[in-house]
């Protein structure tokens, strides 16, 4: 079967999404995602000449709020779910240097 997506692309996308994958599943995902992508070929056959791209499914624009301060969370509430914290900061594994 003609594949729509290469193994390398599967690995790249998995990396971007921070997903770990066993080697054995790469082929399986390539095939499954390939089937999804193939469906877009069907959509691509529709003549969309002169039709603007759709970015939103509803026909509304401009929902604004005024620049007024309102109640926000206190620190205890904000950090209640944090696995690690210290002196009001969230702690995360070191990212650089």
């Amino acid at each position: 079967m003609e594949t729509k997506i290469t193994k390398e692309e599967i690995i790249h996308v998995a990396n971007l999404a921070h997903l770990q994958m066993e080697d054995a599943s790469i082929d399986k995902f390539a095939e499954q995602i390939g089937i999804i992508l193939k469906y877009f070929d069907t959509l691509n056959r529709v003549d969309t000449e002169g039709v603007k791209p759709t970015s939103h499914a509803i026909f509304l624009t401009n929902a604004f709020r005024d620049d007024e301060e309102k109640k926000h969370l206190n620190r205890e509430e904000a950090m209640a779910g944090a696995p690690e914290k210290e002196e009001g900061y969230f702690l995360v594994p070191k990212v650089i240097g």
């Binding site: 971007l16 604004f64 005024d66 926000h72 206190n74």
Partner: protein, 476 residues
């Protein structure tokens, strides 16, 4: 081989709104960590961002001020990447349809005049702040800044030297501050700059491979970083090497740039329209309203200062570098309509004082009215220019009106000829030796006699009259 640098700048300006771009949390700088946060800016599941109208208004102000076309319809996009300062795993930004495109600003200095194109301006949210613990394998995250509104202003690659880059940035910052939409503080990070740099042989059309410089967090670092990077690229090419497209970090301690990440690690952001946010439609009426409310901008004000007040370029440039300073100057002139004299005293004395004390013009201890009052006293002959310096220093210390200081300290200039004659007679009789020397041709001693008279009058004698009477009395 002669090379020419090609530079384009990306500026992030934090907008001075009260609240964040998509939630009601305050934006104030310097609060204790994680105290200006809510479910929206923390990226909790199920929340809905709602756009702050003021952000749009501010962005449109900048768009008009930089001669951009404002988009009738623009859209929000998600820029996807993982970093601990980004709670949602994506940044809400604009991609395909930014709020403004195709503008320019004109930069004029004494040496050159130049137009720099603005490719685009878009709105986005700021990320949180990371503090890296040097001793441990962890970083600390503060989300107070997450969701603070930014506009990113992207220039065309029209800049050809570090000095031009500096001039462009100063002009951009002046405009933002005139518009009162960003405080332009590079050290605090409310005005940030990344630079794209490449070099090419003179008269060549094609661009060379570029690098992106980050961490340029002062005007000085921008210019130094660019100098270093241009020089580095020249050396690589002269040695027969090739420039690698990469992001480089300016290290201000070591005065050099170092590779941060190469293209192969470059992000793939997978932008797509944010389904949580509706398209933004800006009507012509709204644009016209914003335009009508715009203040006079730096370039226009500078031109007006030259025409209306007859000031030289240098004075006009300096006085219009900040709106508050220009306002101060104009207030002074309204009290004392001698623009060049006002300009001289502001540039010579007032700015020196403010610099020395690390103050801005809004914090000036001397009001415009009092400042003008001082110049009036000189003009009326009440005090000499020299005494004026003393009065000025006293005004700086106490903030009192100059006339009050002059009266309290008894600094009124002595212009009474007979009083001055009396003092001169004293000086002559006390310094017989010098008088004789003077009469024998040592006319340089006139300064000595002047000094003696000034000492006796504590500097209050009108120098013109003293000079005249001295010459008469000493004969010669």
């Amino acid at each position: 081989m002669e090379f020419e640098p090609v530079i384009g700048l990306e500026v992030h300006a934090q907008l001075k709104t009260n609240t964040k771009i998509f939630c009601n949390c305050p934006t104030a700088f310097g609060a204790p960590p994680n105290t200006h946060v809510c479910p929206v800016c923390l990226g909790m599941p199920g929340v809905l961002p709602v756009l702050n109208k003021k952000v749009v208004e501010f962005a449109v102000r900048m768009a008009i001020a930089t001669n951009c076309q404002v988009a009738g319809e623009s859209r929000w996009a998600r820029k996807n990447y993982f970093y601990p300062d980004l709670p949602k795993g994506y940044q809400i930004s604009q991609y395909e349809l930014p709020i403004a495109q195709n503008g320019y600003i004109d930069i004029e200095t004494d040496i050159w005049k130049q137009r720099v194109g603005i490719t685009r301006i878009h709105m986005e949210e700021d990320a949180g702040k990371l503090i890296h613990d040097p001793a441990r394998a962890c970083s600390m995250v503060d989300f107070n800044r997450a969701g603070v509104p930014l506009i990113e202003i992207v220039s065309e690659p029209d800049i050809r030297s570090p000095e031009e880059a500096g001039a462009y940035l100063r002009q951009l910052r002046a405009i933002l501050r005139y518009l009162n939409i960003c405080d332009g503080n590079m050290e605090e990070g409310s005005f940030r700059c990344d630079a794209n740099v490449s070099i090419r042989r003179k008269r060549e059309q094609a661009f060379g491979t570029r690098t992106e410089l980050k961490n340029l967090n002062s005007f000085k670092h921008v210019e130094k970083g660019l100098y270093y990077e241009i020089h580095r690229q020249k050396e690589v090419l002269m040695d027969g090497g090739q420039i690698i497209q990469e992001t480089r970090l300016w290290d201000p301690d070591k005065d050099r740039t170092a590779s941060m990440r190469g293209k192969e690690e470059a992000h793939d952001y997978r932008y797509f329209p944010d389904p949580d946010l509706l398209p933004l439609v800006i009507s012509q009426e709204w644009i016209a309203d914003i335009k009508n409310d715009l203040p006079e901008l730096p370039e226009a004000k500078k031109a007006r200062f030259k025409n209306e007040y007859g000031l030289p370029s240098y004075d006009a440039e300096l006085l219009t570098s900040a709106r508050e300073l220009a306002d101060y100057f104009e207030a002074c002139v309204s009290f004392f309509p001698a623009p060049k004299q006002v300009s001289n005293w502001i540039m010579g004395s007032l700015l020196g004082l403010l610099n020395a004390e690390g103050k801005t013009i809004e914090q000036s201890p001397i009001s415009a009215e009092n400042f003008a009052g001082l110049l009036k006293l000189i003009q009326e002959g009440v005090i000499s220019g020299k005494i004026a310096k003393t009065v000025f220093e006293e005004m700086a210390k106490t903030g009192k009106p100059p006339r009050m200081i002059v009266e309290e300290k008894g600094l009124v200039q002595v212009t009474d000829v007979s009083a001055i004659e009396g003092i001169i007679s004293e000086v002559i009789s006390e310094n017989a030796k010098q008088v004789e020397d003077y009469k024998n041709g040592k006319t340089k001693l006139l300064g000595f006699f002047m000094g003696q008279v000034m000492q006796k009058t504590k500097g209050k004698a009108n120098p013109k009259i003293v000079n005249q009477v001295l010459r008469e009395k000493l004969g010669g």
